[in-house]
């Protein structure tokens, strides 16, 4: 019954869809195998899979055309990519289930949209490198001694009870919501040349010294976390869990930021990656919330910019691939194939050479030079110039990654991007802050 229902959903009335054609050809292939005409089933499968097109959408960070080209080369099928901003990604995952096969979303988005039922859990026994996935995404602990950070930690929304599970499980169940692909630790970006002194705390964002030269990002669920890091560092607000604030905590946080805004602390708020780059590169802003590749983009213009490690720790985020609930049969197989390939190292290396981390670092190592691995992962000084996958020089020989090694950075995560129980209230307060 449920199967019928699913099929109905997929086939527009009266039309022959790409999917029904695919199904037909799969059936023919099956028949061919059954009749013994052709013995090697995998070969048929390999022929068939070339006709598959998987539609992936997600934020710009990992939706790169190079990945699609490599998929075509290595796996033979077509991957169509659409890059969107986080709000639009959320919107699509929640409201347009038929517009995608694979959702490349962040864990907090997953928490928000999983309940809409548009994604299906993945069988971890089909994931070849599952055992090698970093502990952060499984037990929540990077190393056995790690303390689990606040917020929507990936492992807390990473598993459900079964293939159709609607509620998140506390521990590894064998059914994963998202296969982690990419993550990083975020902090404040600064212009050391314009500040001219060491910066070591989140409190500096609201330091009157930078009046009219500070900025924060205007994406409520991320911005509120940066704001909380600042308020906590100032000692003004004590949080039970920054990733799940009470109404009172939201009010206090927003009161502090509203006051700062009215006093002219902020030059602008940014919403997209490019805006943050422009604000920093033009010198309009000298300290702001920023994402790692934005720092790189500023530096590649020859302008000094530091991703400043701060004593209170990082605000971290992670993303992963989720499968559309509409996927089945050959296309589902192709999707698993794609995910296994994703964790196999090539993409990991590609992303790590841009400053992100891969969920399975050890496979990525095979696709990076020793110097690159030393610089990006181990926090060692670069021996030669470090280039990104596109061939641009990112760092000169001798430089060291801001914040150091993988364990230094990911081990100092204070909270994860999150969706709160009081989300609706928080969003209203955030909008009031923007309008104030």
């Amino acid at each position: 019954m449920t199967d019928n229902k699913k099929n109905d959903l997929k086939t527009p009335a009266g039309g022959i869809t790409r999917r029904s054609l695919l199904k037909g050809s799969a059936a023919v292939a099956g028949a061919a195998v059954g009749s013994g005409a052709i013995t090697g089933f995998p070969m048929i499968w390999a022929q068939n899979i070339k006709n598959v097109t998987l539609r992936q959408f997600g934020t710009g960070v990992s939706n790169l055309n190079e990945v699609a080209a490599k998929v075509k080369e290595d796996l033979g099928f077509t991957l169509e990519m659409t890059a969107l901003d986080s709000d639009t990604v959320t919107q699509r995952a929640a409201t347009q289930p038929k517009s995608f096969d694979i959702a490349d979303i962040e864990y907090w988005i997953c928490k928000k949209v999983w309940g809409a039922g548009n994604l299906q859990a993945m069988d971890t026994s089909k994931i070849k490198n599952y055992d090698k996935i970093v502990g952060t995404f499984k037990s929540g602990k990077l190393t056995p001694e790690s303390v689990i950070a606040q917020g929507t930690a990936p492992h807390s929304v990473g598993f459900v009870e079964g293939p159709n599970g609607k509620t998140f499980a506390d521990s590894e169940t064998g059914w994963m919501t998202l296969i982690p692909t990419i993550y990083n630790a975020d902090t404040l970006g600064i212009r050391p040349d314009l500040i001219g002194r060491p910066i070591s705390s989140w409190t500096e964002l609201l330091n009157p010294e930078f009046k009219g030269k500070a900025s924060i990002l205007d994406i409520s669920s991320i911005g509120i976390m940066d704001a909380a890091m600042v308020c906590e560092a100032m000692g003004e607000v004590q949080y039970g869990d920054k990733g799940n604030m009470t109404k009172e905590e939201v009010d206090k946080t927003m009161a502090i930021f509203t006051e700062a805004k009215k006093a002219g602390q902020f030059r602008a708020f940014w919403k997209s990656f490019d805006e943050s780059v422009n604000l920093m590169a033009s010198g309009e802003v000298v300290i702001q919330s920023m994402w790692s590749p934005a720092i790189t983009a500023v530096r590649s213009k020859g302008i000094p910019c530091v991703y400043q490690p701060l004593k209170e720790g990082y605000r971290s985020w992670g993303g992963g691939l989720g499968l559309s609930a509409n996927l089945s049969g050959l296309e589902l197989d192709a999707a698993y194939e794609y995910i296994n390939w994703y964790l196999d190292g090539w993409v990991g290396g590609f992303l790590m050479r841009q400053g992100y981390y891969s969920a399975v670092p050890e496979t990525s190592k095979n696709f990076m030079s020793d110097d690159e691995w030393g610089f990006w992962f181990e926090g060692k000084a670069a021996e030669g110039d470090i280039t990104n996958p596109f061939g641009d020089v990112m760092e000169k020989a001798g430089s060291v990654r801001d914040g150091g090694s993988f364990y230094d950075r990911m081990g100092a995560v204070a909270c994860w991007n999150a969706v709160m129980d009081e989300n609706k209230y928080m969003v209203r307060k955030w909008n009031e802050f923007i309008a104030a």
């Binding site: 805004k261 919403k271 923007i434």
Partner: protein, 285 residues
């Protein structure tokens, strides 16, 4: 009997328009109205009949602040657009004598509009920035010692962009009405001893009212509904009603956005109907 036939013909003639308007204007607005009473959670919205969305709008101090700010933008933009638009149209209609030149100059006015709205707006950002062209020129000329901060990401920047973007919407209708003013009236005024100023105030201005009103309606509706100019030019620091709605849509709060849209629509309709009381546009067209 004949009247009935005429009525039926005109009824049939008007039918396609009625259908198009009903389908693409009335139905969507009704849907918005309906959805504005619905409830929502993080990922979905569902039928309900609640007044929460409206209750929040009317009780939140932010709504009042936002509307006040939006109206303020509208009024100031309108004043500048009208002053500049009227002057430009007057120059084109009365000072440029040859029709060829009138057309040439009029086309010249429209050239910037061959480009995208967004591009024209964003070009102001590097120009007005802290290290932008405007500040460098002023610094080099010795007129200021430190860069002017209020040039960009301020209300000044927002209004500058609005005026730049929308003045033509005033020039065109005013120019159009001015061109239809009977020149012998001006001669008569001159013969009767009116000065240039008196002619302008007592003849040209009243006769241009329909054009001014059409232009004003354009500007009011454009500025009231804007969300992108305010966001970019204020650096995301100022709110307008349009931005609030855009934010709510981005956060999947469709019912809240619908309620806001209904209130905005009502406000704009109210303003426009008041404006229409002063001039009967249909008589003038």
């Amino acid at each position: 009997m004949r009247d009935f036939a005429v009525n039926r013909t005109s009824g049939l003639l008007v039918l396609p328009l009625v259908c198009v308007l009903a389908l693409f204007l009335v139905v969507p607005i009704c849907l918005i109205l309906v959805v504005s009473f619905w409830d929502y959670n993080e990922w979905n919205f569902f039928p309900a009949f609640i007044f929460d969305n409206y209750a929040y709008i009317f009780t939140s101090p932010v709504t009042w602040a936002t509307y006040l700010r939006t109206l303020q933008y509208t009024v100031i933009t309108w004043v500048f657009c009208t002053a500049i638009g009227f002057t430009v149209a007057y120059f084109l209609a009365f000072h440029v004598r040859s029709q060829t030149w009138q057309i040439a100059l009029f086309l010249l006015c429209t050239i910037p509009f061959w480009n995208s709205n967004i591009i024209r707006m964003i070009s102001w950002i590097p120009f007005l920035g802290r290290n932008g062209i405007a500040n460098s020129v002023l610094l080099d000329a010795g007129l200021i010692d430190v860069p002017l901060e209020w040039l960009l990401f301020s209300d000044f920047a927002v209004i500058l962009a609005f005026v730049h973007l929308y003045t033509l919407f005033m020039v065109v209708p005013v120019f159009n009405t001015m061109m239809r003013i009977d020149r012998s009236l001006i001669e008569a005024a001159r013969d009767a001893g009116a000065s240039g100023w008196q002619t302008l105030v007592h003849f040209v201005l009243p006769l241009s009212k329909p054009g001014l009103m059409i232009g004003s309606i354009f500007i009011v509706t454009l500025v009231m509904g804007d969300f992108i100019t305010v966001r970019f030019m204020s650096g995301g620091q100022s709110a307008s009603v349009g931005r609030v709605i855009a934010n709510e849509i981005a956060l999947l709060q469709y019912p809240a956005a619908a309620a806001n849209a209904v209130i905005l629509l009502a406000t704009v309709l109210l303003i426009v109907s008041v404006m229409l009381r002063y001039v009967d546009i249909r008589k003038e067209l």
